[in-house]
């Protein structure tokens, strides 16, 4: 098979050295693909050239501001924004789910937005053990297809977040990913669902981006991909050489002012980049100025088996809560007379014997429990 590499890597390395770039170029699994296969992974339609230039220029201007400041002048230490953050290491815990692979389909919007929501769901609950694995297949090939998404045309992150807010997205095991499309959605999907209470548009506001990452764990962003990016093998990326290949969506999981970069999670497998992750310089490739979004609270509607690690009540009526392992606090059912107390009795039994409870969670409430 002919290997149509994006660049002459030897020449690129010379150019990287000449420009004093802080990243290295290697034979990644993506760089070794044919050109059409590489471009197929870039699933966010680029704006017209003049708009790209304008967004690039705005991003460069933002990067020249003092660390922590956004276009609105806000941010910085006064707003509690730290100099660095990485959701893979918050007090020694990682809230980032494993690297995925979108394959030969322009489904990056589904992957970048779902990666963001998966991290947010765990981070908001303070539960690094909550490894939510959501279905890109449903989001892209069911919800996305209804608004024009396809492997060839790509999609828009605004539509992805809207779908996750209005409909929700089920879990991977209810509709596994296949880059060729198809598959059957498990009819029980409404009972195994992640759903956003809302989402924020953070485009062009660096301070808000950092704030949201610190408080929610991740955001999604789109940027322009040049040919040299396919061979990224670590370090802080900035465009060195090669033509514009397309638009791409990923998840930003951290930042580092000392290095002047965003820390990002891609979905091209672990054979690309730094085990699937990459760093990109502030102000580079429109990453702050094109399409940036963050999830609000991620509700989970699902059955779980979990140990009861804590119980709590105060003197308000029907207000007993349980701390379930890898899920955190949930309020026990309180919609019907006696339900809260009855459920608490079941959970104390589970807690006493240190046996898991089989519980259904919905909108932050435990609505059913089995204790055997």
């Amino acid at each position: 098979m002919a290997q149509d590499r994006p660049l002459d890597l030897a020449a690129l390395r010379v150019e990287i050295d000449r420009q004093g770039a802080r990243w290295r170029s290697v034979d990644t699994t993506v760089a070794l693909l044919e050109e059409d296969d590489r471009r197929r992974r870039l699933g966010v339609p680029l704006p017209p050239d003049h708009e790209v230039e304008q967004l690039q220029s705005q991003a460069k201007a933002l990067s020249s501001l003092p660390a922590g400041l956004g276009a609105d002048g806000g941010g910085g230490a006064a707003d509690g924004i730290g100099a660095s953050f990485d959701s893979r290491n918050v007090g020694g815990n990682s809230y980032v789910t494993p690297i995925k692979n979108q394959g030969g389909c322009g489904s990056c919007v589904a992957f970048g937005s779902i990666a963001t929501v998966e991290t947010t769901a765990a981070f908001q609950r303070g539960q690094p053990g909550l490894k939510v694995d959501l279905s890109e297949q449903q989001l892209f090939f069911v919800e996305g297809a209804a608004t024009g998404a396809s492997c060839g045309n790509g999609w828009w992150p605004e539509h992805a977040f809207t779908a996750m807010r209005d409909t929700g997205v089920t879990f991977e095991d209810y509709m596994p990913y296949n880059a060729g499309g198809g598959g059957t959605l498990n009819p029980d999907w409404p009972n195994r669902l992640a759903k956003l209470t809302g989402f924020q548009t953070l485009t062009g506001n660096v301070a808000a981006m950092k704030q949201h990452i610190q408080t929610h764990g991740a955001i999604s962003a789109c940027f322009s991909v040049y040919q040299d990016f396919f061979s990224y093998g670590g370090g802080v990326y900035h465009h060195v050489s090669g033509s514009l290949a397309g638009g791409h969506c990923i998840s930003i999981i951290g930042f580092d002012d000392a290095q002047g970069c965003w820390i990002c999670k891609n979905q091209w497998g672990t054979g690309w980049g730094d085990q699937g992750f990459f760093k990109i310089a502030y102000g580079e490739c429109m990453i702050e100025t094109w399409r940036v979004h963050g999830a609000d609270y991620v509700n989970l509607r699902m059955w779980i088996d979990a140990l009861v690690r804590g119980l709590w009540s105060n003197e308000s009526p029907d207000n007993a809560w349980a701390y379930l392992d890898n899920m955190g606090w949930s309020r026990l059912a309180y919609g019907a007379a006696g339900a809260n107390t009855a459920m608490l009795t079941e959970l104390t039994s589970s807690r006493l014997r240190n046996q898991p409870v089989h519980a259904f969670l919905d909108m932050g409430q435990v609505t059913q429990t089995y204790v055997f």
Binding site: V90, G91, N93, Q124, R125, G126, Q127, P128, T197, D296, Y297, N299, R309, G310, L311, W312, S313, N314, E315, S316, P317, D318, N319, A320, W321, Y323, G328, W329, R331, Y334, G335, G338, N340, T341, L344, T345, T348, R351, L352, D362, M363, G364, Q365
Partner: protein, 137 residues
């Protein structure tokens, strides 16, 4: 009626129950609960727990823990009076479980009961006479 202030044995001495007052009504919907994860409680509504179990990744602010009384449960007592169950916190003494309403009184008693049976530590929000909220780990 209240239990003795010494050992968690059978209480004998009568006293006027303390606590009570009007109980707050529920003020938030399930949706609001869901958008307000534990640790970011507002000032309205029935309240939500703010601490995390020992060893959990999401530890609450130290200020919250500092206001709590931490103890194991040495005994329980109740009498033929409305909402009049008491808990003996070892090293602390007898405390009345808030009688603010029947369901929360029952919930607090259930927590104290499981803590006693499991010899588990509770962290009680108490004011020297009444327990207003309780964690069991």
């Amino acid at each position: 009626m209240s239990p003795t202030t010494k050992a968690p044995s059978r209480p004998r001495h009568a006293a006027t129950p303390s606590g009570g007052g009007s109980a707050p009504a529920p003020m938030i919907t399930p949706e609001q609960i869901a958008t307000k994860p534990p640790g970011s409680n507002g000032t309205t509504g029935p309240g939500a727990p703010e601490m995390a179990p020992p060893g959990a990744a999401a530890q609450a602010a130290g200020a919250v823990a500092a206001t709590m009384t931490s103890a194991t449960v040495g005994g329980l007592w109740t009498s033929n009076n409305t909402s009049n169950a008491w808990v003996f916190l070892n090293g602390v003494g007898w405390r009345k479980l808030s009688p603010a309403n029947p369901t929360s009184h029952q919930a607090l008693l259930e927590l104290a009961r499981v803590a006693k049976d499991a010899n588990a530590t509770v962290q009680a929000d108490e004011d020297g006479s009444v327990v207003h909220a309780m964690y069991v780990w």
